[in-house]
Symmetry: C2
Subunit: 268 residues, 2 copies
């Protein structure tokens, strides 16, 4: 078989794979996704998972994936907190004030949380949920006015929580940008720097890799801007009309991540 699907993977030596919407949707594993990941591991085909999740540490995400039946090593998972830590280390300025929830702070263990009396170099905003208060927003604001730079772990508007639509990190970032006149550095997808971090970990150049995702803008558009091919899945948040009306055209479209096994086998 020599379908366009196979064609689009011809020169690909590694994959970046989104989590929610590609490997699972909510708590339901996508049919064949676990086998597809197992195939990659068994055949030593390089891949990394890239997710915009900012409510869980890498460790907790790895545990969640394991509980769903995926064999994915913790160090194969890349999230915006990891990118933020890499960015801080690269600049040599590692003092920060973090506004987030869950156990995301675990991902920052390599860097120094700011001494309460010291000025942080960075104010880092994640999807912080109930940690958002006037006090925490004011603390972040005052650090920014004292010279700290603003990092947004993500810039989403809202997400669907169990009890209804809920504000994500984006609105809090926008509030602080307006108050201070500063512009946030955005860490997660579709930032090219974020994709590059995962690519560098595989020692691959962008043109050697493809990104598999369910979001035409964040995953596919982001991959293209980073110099990679974008492969769209018809699972998760995929909507035919979003595809039809978008100026972004994926390198190929597959029913689900489970197709990867056939495509790579047929390529051999």
């Amino acid at each position: 078989m020599d379908s366009p699907e196979t064609d689009c993977m011809n020169d690909i030596r590694g994959l970046l794979i989104d989590l929610d919407g590609v490997l699972y949707v909510g708590n339901r594993v996508v049919d064949g996704a676990s086998e597809a990941v197992g195939f990659l591991i068994d055949h030593g085909f390089p891949f990394r998972c890239v997710s915009n999740t900012t409510r869980k540490s890498r460790h907790t995400i790895a545990g969640h994936l394991s509980s769903l039946g995926f064999r994915i090593p913790e160090n194969h998972i890349f999230t915006p907190p990891l990118a933020a830590v890499a960015h801080m280390k690269k600049t040599g300025r590692i003092h920060y004030y973090l506004l987030s929830t869950g156990d995301v702070n675990r991902d920052f263990a390599e860097t120094d949380p700011t001494d309460p009396d010291a000025r942080p170099d960075w104010v880092i905003i994640g999807d912080a949920g109930n940690e958002v208060t006037y006090d925490t927003m004011n603390t972040a604001f005052r650090h920014l006015m004292d010279g700290a730079e603003l990092i947004a772990l993500e810039n989403d508007r809202y997400w669907m929580a169990a009890d209804g639509l809920s504000l994500s990190a984006g609105p809090i970032v926008k509030a602080l940008e307006y108050a201070t006149g500063k512009t946030a550095i955005v860490m997660g997808k579709p930032s090219p720097a974020f994709f590059c971090l995962a690519l560098q970990d595989m020692h691959l150049r962008p043109e050697q890799a493809a990104m598999i995702g369910d979001d035409i803008i964040t995953d596919i558009g982001g991959a293209h801007r980073a110099g990679m091919k974008g492969i769209l899945v018809r699972t998760g948040k995929f909507r035919q009309d979003s595809l039809d009306t978008s100026a972004i055209k994926p390198a190929c479209i597959i029913d689900s991540v489970s197709r990867i096994k056939d495509i790579l086998e047929n390529r051999r």
Copy 2:
């Protein structure tokens, strides 16, 4: 005496007067301000006070002015909450969700706070201080997504509180605008509708009135756009370099509001 000061008041039949920075600065009364206001009252010269304060009700502001020695009737004070109530009544939609602090809710007594089970027509954001939480922001956000319109009592970035710079209503408004894609209707100065509300209460047209303020942009620029003359005082937040670098040119500049007495006397 026929100075430019007197000239600029020649056709003026009523005054709008800012509070903080014009009548008092912090808790210190501007020299001669109380006498100037007394002169206006004793001579039946129409005036109204227009302030962007959104942390105090009209009643509380009147009490504060009285404690400082000013004889200003409560119904002479116009604040953004009053403008919001007027706007709601004009549209016939009077159900609202208010995010504010202090006793500002008193100013909304004429309208119906929303039944917890009902959908509000309006989400109204003031400088809410510690009332800003993830829960209250999410409640406002969900009402907006359910069809409510957004009213900003003011759009300031921050103010100087006793313990340091503190976020004002503007950043919270910007957060909700970003999350919902909606644009807030701003109620306070420099909105022309706000000035007009106070002018209508005096039965005066804009060209018959002058605005006395210490803010070149909000007070003077706002007055000009509303069709009034703008008179800048050299008290409060007045800075010579802000005046020199501004494209906005006041009709005249006076040392303080205390000059009003002489100007009006010399005009007679």
